[in-house]
Amino acid sequence: MTMIDTTRPAVRTATAAPIGAARLIGAGTGPDLQSHLARLGPLPTGPLRAAALITMTEAVGLAGRGGGGFPTSRKIAGIAASRRSSVLVINACEGDPTAMKDAMVIGRSPHLVLDGAITVAQAIGAGRVVLASHRGSDSARFLADALLERGSAAKRMKVVTVPARFVASEASSLVNYLNNGDARPSGRLAPIWESGVDARPTMVLNAETVSHIGLLARFGADWFRSVGSIDEPGTALVTVNGAVRRPGVVEVANGTSIGDILRLAGSAPAGWALIGGLAGRWADLATIADVPFTTAALRSNGLTKGVASISVIGEGGCVLNQAARVLDYLAAASAGQCGPCMFGLPAIAADMRALMKGDSAALDRLRRRLPVVKGRGGCAHPDGAVAFAASTLGVLTGPESGHLRRHLAAGPCPERGSDIPLVKVGH
């Protein structure tokens, strides 16, 4: 299993189902429509009905790949139940700067994303499909080019670019933006699956999620389950960045261990890494190297899959300094609509920075403030920041308590590790 498979297999019929883990990326063929059809063949004629799609996605346990991990079958069932014409939004924004997997599948296999979107749209009776991407991003361009290739077949699908801000790609933000030009979350009191874009039931699906559906619709559940683990069949895209020899995106069979993923990136699992994105959890790679990178296994180890990114800070990296950077970013990214977020996050970020500089009282302030901020915003943004900060405190008062004592005695330490990325690549 290599990082990027650029070799052509010895024997392959024109429309064979992908073998092994090279499903979404790594086929070595071009992103254009012709190569796409040559590799995978067309979508089956006769659209998949909602019931069939729900059964299939449930049979393979497909869960959202945008960070929420919500069972896709339930999402589809919820919206298919409505008799009204719905709207499908494909989230191709990938707002988390540690993740590049959606950009990768869009760049390599944009037509697979479109196939998945078409499959879902037909199943749920969506009158409109929006492909949402950050303004000026490569993804926006690739998707627009792919739509052009489709011509009139894709007439109800459109690329819409949204402001390149962290909270702009939250599900209700996308809906709010499409309705009002306001790229901020609209709150949890009026769910978008009841009233979303144009007041119609709206479903937002991640780009990687629908690309899996594009393959599932062609080759079926049994094929999908032929790779991966029993509790989590199929493959997943994982972004590895930071202090590794070959940073980038890998596609692995679900159940591959964290250590094996690191080795694909050319490094041994060692040192601290942030797993799951900016709202993720810290992990000492050496101690969890054998843990499979699945939702269940990560959860039982106190971690989260999130946006499936692993940011290694490496030798000499300081968890506290990185946490202060990340929290500053998350605080500045707030939509500024809810008190506990717009005041709580900057306070928590300031506390973490103060702790880094040696202020011991900051630890108590953090312990007091984290549970107060949690759950009291209009979206999950403050919750993610709080969970990340709590993970940081857990590390600093546990395995890294010696390092914390040094900060409290002597202030900031000389940082020599890799920074958690806070700027998106490809924008």
């Binding site: 303004r135 000026g136 926006a140 361009r141 627009a144 459109k158 690329v159 819409v160 670019t161 402001p163 801000r165 909270v167 702009a168 933006y177 499409l178 309705n179 009002n180 030009g181 306001d182 790229a183 901020r184 707030s334 939509a335 500024g336 609509q337 008190g339 717009m342 005041f343």
Partner: protein
């Protein structure tokens, strides 16, 4: 009943209603301007604002009823709601009709607030800033001899001063609250765009 008594009741309740309306304005600006705390908590300020407005409505009702009943002036029921058609002092009574219309609008929209948009409720409620000066002017215009009496002028000045001080001290200062400042900053960082703008 003695006609003069009815007339006096009408004029007296008119003055009291103006005092009460002034209090309602001041209490309303205190609520919006986040004043209160200490002796009277903000929840108390709001309760007073609502109670006094009901009291003012009661006094206005008596003021209007007696004005209609009184035979000295020719004011019909319709003149209470449709301005500038009264036989007596059409302009100044007409102002009062506008005041009544706005008062009803404010009262009804406040009672049904949960069923209205925030914008609709606020737009109607803010017409109080037009309502109150018209009420004061109506009082001055229909006051006749009393309007130039020293005590009446003193009351008028006190009311105008109270509303002015409240406006400057509280209502205009509301902008400095941290929540307001933080939201303004958030609005700037996430500036709204025209819908459908895409590359």
């Amino acid at each position: 009943m003695n006609s003069t008594l009815i007339w006096y009741i009408s004029r007296a309740t008119g003055v009291v209603a103006m005092l009460l309306f002034t209090a309602v304005m001041v209490l309303g600006m205190a609520t919006a301007g986040r004043a209160g705390g200490g002796a009277l908590p903000r929840a108390g300020v709001l309760r007073l604002h609502r109670y006094v407005s009901l009291l003012a409505t009661a006094f206005i009702t008596v003021h209007i009823a007696t004005a209609i009943l009184d035979t000295y002036v020719n004011i019909r029921l319709i003149d209470v709601f449709v301005p500038f058609g009264a036989g007596y002092s059409p302009f100044w009574v007409g102002l009062a009709a506008i005041v009544v219309d706005l008062m009803l609008a404010i009262g009804i929209t406040s009672a049904l607030r949960r069923h209205l948009s925030e914008f609709a409720w606020r737009a109607v409620h803010l017409s109080a800033y037009a309502l109150w000066p018209m009420a004061v002017l109506h009082g001055w215009g229909t006051g006749g001899g009393d309007a130039s009496a020293t005590w009446m002028i003193a009351i008028d000045i006190a009311c105008i001063a109270a509303v002015t001080v409240a406006a400057i001290g509280w209502r205009l200062r509301a902008r400095t609250h941290p929540d307001t400042a933080a939201r303004l900053e958030g609005d700037l960082r996430h500036a709204r765009e025209t819908i459908g703008a895409h590359s």
